[in-house]
Amino acid sequence: MSADNFNLEESIRSFDGDAIVTEGKQFTEITVHPEKLMALAMFLRDNSEMGFDFPACVSGVDYGNDLGVVYHLRSTKHNRTIVVKTRVSDRQNPVMESVTPVWPGAEYHEREIFDLFGIRFTNHPDLRRLFLDNSDGYPLRKDYSDDVNIVTK
């Protein structure tokens, strides 16, 4: 597996020099700038060595200062998983490019992240709030407060 991953890291580095590739506890993790996300996504899906065609999970994370999105991608051909992370620092108006054209399965995940974190995805086919109403704010952000429904000890 490590030989396999070595290959993976090398080829990702050669594709995008700025991307930070680290060996995480479980998976290889790539940290990429949001502007380069789309190009990396295309590369990860279409390159035959990569073949990450299965969008397993897309999660939004509030890192405190930054808002981030974490993509867990899997290759059905090679049966390996990779993690792509990206973050934006603009909390007021976070914008990111949607990966829905690459992985259609990300559509609902991105809608959910928009709903709960307020990250706007450009090029998303149908970016509306999924669970909540517009008046509810973005509850999964760490600075979210609700005097009525959240009791802090």
Binding site: Q26, V61, D62
Partner: protein, 374 residues
């Protein structure tokens, strides 16, 4: 009348907008589908969800890991045990604890029983969706036997909460093996009844064959998992791909079909019940001796880092993504629930079919709404 429920005009033809749900007999919960129709033919489906969004992910951020277990029961309530297991496995992996074989085997048996009862309820409600009400009672009759075993083992029937980080809440009941064997013997006799009542029925076949086809490429690109994906030939069984608990030591087949229509999504689940019975039979006589739980620290703190664990629930791949900052509460928990992803193809599958087919297709996706909303 709400604005979006007014009949709309597209391509010069007026469309009949029908609001299916959130209270409707065959949405199995509070799913709301706004369907645009042209006559009986569905042109567009827009799912409206969030009616039972409880913010489980937010709640998890202020709870400890043993407490999170009890919230996961409430997501996919038909795979409650498997959901518990996902969190436990993730915590155990993060703490690098070796789990004794006894726990692994018991967890696997319970997980397969959960899968059987979930598929029994699927069969029951799917038959009901297609208008065969009798199926419902046959399915529930047999599901009752599994729930009795659950009740005897852990006190709960649906919301079991039997797992805890490091093992099980308590040991199995002394009569557990006998009861499970009796159930397997009983269910081997009654499962053919299911086929007689529904699978072989001409009307049933006509209603489901060739309806709502999902191709392999679409299944992968949309992230579909579970029986729904396996009916399209997507080999995605986590039990095979990344064996957890005791799945690495048993023989079973991953049920795969290539047609991807409603009928084969149904067949996958029927065959999975047989496979689950095989799995249980291999394990039930070989439960090793040992403790039922590993001694854990009173307060569980995961080392800083990110942990992802996936398991195969009755409906597909459940991924638990935990980000820990070293505290007793997780920094962020994300549940990648199978139903949430599977719902996203409903519009694609049901376009061009009739209302009755829409019900059959959404039934064959076997959606559990609390799992979608979380």
């Amino acid at each position: 009348m709400e604005e979006h429920l007014k009949n709309s005009v597209t391509d010069g033809q007026e469309e009949y907008v029908l609001n299916i749900g959130p209270q409707h007999p065959s949405t199995h919960g509070v799913l709301r589908l706004v369907a645009s129709l042209r006559g009986e033919i569905v042109t567009n489906i827009e799912p409206h969800i969030g009616y039972i969004h409880r913010g489980i992910e937010k709640m998890c951020e202020s709870l400890t890991y043993p407490q999170i277990i009890h919230l996961t029961d409430r997501m996919d309530y038909l795979s409650a045990h498997i959901n518990n297991e996902a969190v436990c496995l993730n915590v155990e992996k993060a703490l690098e604890i070796d789990i004794p074989d006894r726990i692994k085997v018991i967890r696997t048996i319970m997980a397969e029983l959960t899968r059987i009862q979930s598929h029994q309820l699927f069969w029951a409600t799917f038959g009901m969706d297609l208008g065969g009400l009798t199926c419902f009672f046959y399915g529930l009759r047999d599901r009752e036997k599994v729930l009795d075993i659950f009740e005897e083992t852990c006190g709960g029937r649906m919301i079991v909460s039997y797992n805890c980080p490091g093992g099980l809440m308590h040991d199995i009941h002394p009569g557990f093996q006998k009861r499970v064997k009796e159930f397997i013997e009983y269910f081997r006799k009654t499962l053919p009844e299911y086929d007689q009542l529904l699978t072989g029925n001409v009307i049933f076949r006509e209603r489901t064959m060739g309806i709502g086809k999902l191709t392999l490429g679409e299944a992968i690109a949309h992230g579909i998992t579970g029986p729904t994906a396996r009916a399209s030939g997507f080999s995605c069984d986590v039990r095979k791909k990344e064996p957890y608990s005791a799945y690495d030591r048993i023989k079973f087949n991953e049920v795969l079909f290539t047609e991807g229509d409603t009928y084969h999504r149904y067949l996958v689940r029927m065959d999975e019940m047989r496979q689950s019975m095989d799995i249980i039979e291999q394990l039930i006589d070989n439960i090793p001796e040992g403790p039922y739980a590993v001694k854990m620290k009173p307060i569980i703190r995961l080392p800083e880092g990110e942990y992802y664990q996936r398991v195969e629930t009755a409906r597909g791949e459940l991924g638990v993504y935990i980000i820990s900052d070293g505290n007793k509460n997780p920094y962020r928990v994300k549940f990648r629930s199978p139903n949430f992803v599977n719902l996203s193809v409903l519009n694609m599958l049901s376009k061009g079919f009739k209302i009755a087919d829409l019900i059959a297709i959404s039934g064959s996706l076997d959606l559990i709404i609390p799992d979608i909303d979380r």
